[in-house]
């Protein structure tokens, strides 16, 4: 999976979580910060996004522990080959 595909998947996962929670969907861009309040997702929701991405992509960039990320682009890059 390349970066654009990983980003598209990630944005879809985030959008679905926001729809399920009945939240507004702001523009989702590379530099959108995941946990600064603009997305109305809490850290548990970000945890779910990461679990769901692992299931969709069959890859776990966090297999040996936590890696820092802040934006949609940074998280998507972890799933890109």
């Amino acid at each position: 999976m390349n970066y654009d595909e990983a980003k598209a998947k990630l944005i879809e996962v985030i959008r679905n979580r926001l729809v399920d929670a009945g939240k507004d969907i702001p523009p989702l861009e590379d530099d959108t910060v995941l946990l600064d309040g603009s997305l109305s997702l809490d850290s548990l929701e970000i945890a779910v996004v990461v679990i769901t991405m692992g299931e969709i992509t069959h890859s776990d960039p966090f297999a040996s522990g936590f890696i820092g990320f802040q934006t949609i682009g940074e998280l998507a890059r972890l799933y890109a080959n």
Partner: protein, 445 residues
Amino acid sequence: MQTSTEAHRPKATASPLDTVGNTDATAICQDGVRVTRSQLREWASTLAQLLSSRGKGRVAISSPRADRVAAAILAAHWANYEILLLRSNPSRDLCRAWGISGLIDENFRVEPMEGNYASEGFQVLLTTSGTTGEPKIARHTLTALLGRVRPRPRRYGPARWLLAFHPASFAGLQVLLTALTSRDELIAVSELSVIALKHAALDWLPTHLSATPTFWRSFLVAAGDALSKVPLSQLTLGGEVADQRTINHLRAAFPTSRIVHIYATTEAGAVFSVKDGLAGFPVQWLKTGVEGARLRITDGILEVQSPCAMTGYLAAGGKAFTDDGWLRTGDLVTILDDRVHFLGRADTVISVGGAKVTPEEVEHMLLQVPGVLDSRVFGLPSVITGSVVATEIVTEVSDHDGLRRAIIAHLRGRLEAHKIPRIVRFVPSIPVSQSGKKRRCDAVA
């Protein structure tokens, strides 16, 4: 001559709690509003008088505000009451069952309740998750609570703590008591979200912060490089397993700060702290003990004897101690390279960011939702929060999206947010073990 409000102020320094002081220095900055030490004493003194006029007993407070909880604890101490710290208001029935004779509100009024337990002295009672949904209550003496709380040496100058735990949690209470007895400032916010705490950290620049590894990881995601603007001299990790990767990330973000992880539970109290920057703890502590506590491993589970342990559960809380007086922590451990490492829970309890979730409690609630025939609640491993609560549902309803929404709507308000399954899947049947019990291990993702 003493004025009436002086009556319950201690005449001499009888306990570390009395060192709260009587000055215009800030004790707690609550939601951006400074509360001085004398203000805190004034509140506590007035409340202590009110309590004393009602005899002796057990009161409760449920408030997310550290300033209110701190004053209530001081008042209970001065009036020789037991005080139960809660996160939500209990029903009148629970108050009766728990012997609560009064509920302290945020204006320090005491609403009478029907419990009538006559306390024998000051103790602090904290809730911990029970297996049936009703919390168990652990009782702690002041001596045990302050066991690992040492006033910081003055030569380090004033510290400013940011409270990242609920003040009614064991870890929150430790931070609160440390700041109070060291005469440090405590920055507290009622809304304990990562985002609110990030703003508080950047606005108030704390020097000390104690939080769960989940919180620290979320903090790194939320604040990124901005985190390094916070002048932390000490970072403490507690409440769940501190893994090496998280410690390393914090070390990189704060190269010169002290990084400590603490092993504490509501039942065992604060048992020990690890200061060498490595996950787990040295295996020789199993022989030598540490900080007055003894440690042993039985069937892969850590057991402790700690001077800081609770005196016991409130009635019907269950048996926590072995026959030979050791407290079974329920934490699975393994020895690797001269270190004892934590593996997770031995029971079915799911740890979400250090907060315990009992699957049976959630399953019980799920079965109340029309259309849910059976359910299995389990934890899915998460690199951020340790676990996320997930559920598998058996149903004959064909509209799965509708049922999912109905489930979440039903649980919201009945369960705390971290207990509500974030992942809901529909399955034809629930796997059972040979003994007929639901399979509890994590589903393969």
